[in-house]
Symmetry: C2
Subunit: 309 residues, 2 copies
DNA sequence: GCTGATGATCAGATTCGCTTATGATTGACC
DNA sequence: GGTCAATCATAAGCGAATCTGATCATCAGC
């Protein structure tokens, strides 16, 4: 039966073929001569062929034609196994693997580029799949539990059935034209004013609407788009002002100014979550660490731009 | 230790991954659920990673990322092993293998083409190496014993240290111009006559010389060549007559006539030999059988051409 | 003919691996 | 909420495989 075949048998075959005698092969492998003799005999049993001609006496054994054939095949199998070993080693070291990540607009725009860049630097062979289909984050959690996703970015409270890493608080700020009066933006004064922002079916947009609603403001949207750049462009063009999470803003844009609001809208809390039931790949843990670091440094970098005005 | 890895472990992994549960995998493999559980556990020990997340309860197990990786590698290894199985099967059926054959002029010209043609027909993947370097057949026997050759054609008595298959008796005949007087060629009348033939360092040529010498004829060679066609051509051109083994003659050549001799020179006995100490590949035995058949039919085909005149 | 090197073989102890039986957990269902 | 059914893990037992150590058989070379 070929299923009885063991790597040990192939190693014995190779060792004897290379060393020339069973005895030297045995000492190379750390066995006794008797053991190697029996191992080769077992292999011969498996393949049903004599693999060595053994002239009795001091004459060393010699591969039969079948032995040469099996040896060639054994080299291939052993090579394949060694490759598997290396592949697994890369996986364990976190420099290889597959990663399916659920994400959403602002994270994709402001956090993922840096995170993936750094990840690719230290783990070039990792295969990352980003899923940004459904704005509903419950769907992402379902995909997590089902195993379709390894990690997912989420906003707000985390279902305790999952494990998570808190990434930071992303303040909601106002984007206004550069000539807008200095100081924080008074939200109450915005009633009836034209506004731009993200659609309500987007996780980000929905959160902004809830925040404004909580302080009694029903925004007068004149333009809504999933595209953060488009929203920001509209503000620069004077179409209206926008209330968005800080992480969505391109602060280098000279056409707009970023302001805090008065009162402040509760910041959204960002986390990355995964299923506690399923084993996490090492590279996934590495990703979480990098994402947390990138998120923190992004928030720290953007905050001063806000305070400056 | 990866050397503890067995094919059985990989089969278990694959079966569980495909069947979804340990129990179904077990019944597919013909084991109990417990056995498969232990097999997978052993594999996990070998690779040092958990391969299945096993949510307790009726929920079926699921591959971890490491499990998916190992499974992919296992498929490759199993494929390699199956290929080895096929390769060995072809070898055993005699349709594949390597064959190094020691030969000499007349065999190469008259026997091998048909033999190899038929062999290739039934065993297309066989790799044949012909060695026709040394006219000394002792050298061929040495190469046989050393294992450099699998089979060797020889002339005359066979060293009993080797195994052999007798191929037939190849009569020595005379090649004469078409206008030569009818009937057998009287060898005694050839004394002093111009003759052509093979060199004395050739197995064939040497044998002819010995045969002529035994009946007291010292041939007057005016041309000697290893090339049978050249010798025959010289006869056709009237340079001289030739005494050669029948198997070397192209009987379709209208420029010459083939005659028996008076007295007859002892025919050379052809055999194919191999080392009894070394295992013979199935394809080699097949080759021997085909060569014997071809040799017999060649001799039977050529003999009438001789009797006809 | 002796010597030394070879692999095969045997006996014994150990380990491995399979089966049977049981336990533990938990989703599904009433 | 309780029962059922399906899941895998684990323990015990037993037989086979396997390794070690010792011995045997063979034979090239001195």
């Amino acid at each position: 039966m070929w299923s009885d075949l063991s790597v040990r048998h192939l190693l014995a075959l190779r060792a004897v073929a290379e060393e020339g005698t069973f005895g030297r092969a045995a000492s190379r492998l750390g066995f006794t001569q008797s053991a190697v003799s029996q191992q080769v005999a077992a292999l011969e049993q498996v393949v049903g062929q004599t693999l060595f001609d053994r002239p009795s006496g001091p004459t060393p054994p010699r591969l039969t034609p079948a032995g040469e054939l099996i040896l060639r095949q054994a080299e291939l199998v052993l090579g394949q196994i060694q490759e598997a070993e290396h592949e697994l080693d890369r996986y364990v070291r976190g420099v290889s693997g597959r990663l399916a990540i659920g994400t959403f607009q602002s994270i994709s725009a402001r956090v993922l580029p840096f995170t993936l860049g750094r990840l690719r630097q230290e783990a070039p062979h990792v295969e990352v799949v980003l899923v940004e289909e459904d704005p509903e984050q419950d769907v992402r959690l379902g995909a997590l539990a089902r195993g379709d996703l390894d990690l997912a970015f989420v906003v707000g409270d985390v279902d305790p059935a999952f494990e998570s890493q808190y990434l930071g608080a992303d303040p909601h700020i106002a984007i206004v034209p550069p000539d807008f009066p200095d100081g924080p933006v008074d939200l109450e004064a915005l009633a009836g004013q034209p506004m731009v922002g993200q659609p309500a079916d987007d996780t980000c947009g929905l959160l902004v609407d809830r925040g404004l609603e909580r302080i009694g403001l029903a925004p007068n949207y004149v333009f809504r788009s999933h595209d953060n750049g488009a929203v920001q462009g509209m503000v620069g063009a004077g179409v209206g002002i926008a209330i968005v999470p800080l992480l969505t803003v391109d602060v280098t844009d000279p056409a707009v100014s970023v302001r805090s609001t008065k009162p402040e809208i509760e910041p959204r809390r960002l986390s990355i979550v995964w299923s506690g039931d399923r084993t996490l790949a090492p590279v996934a843990e590495r990703f979480v660490a990098i994402a947390a670091d990138v998120c923190a440094s992004q928030l720290a970098t953007l905050q001063p731009h806000l305070a400056a005005r």
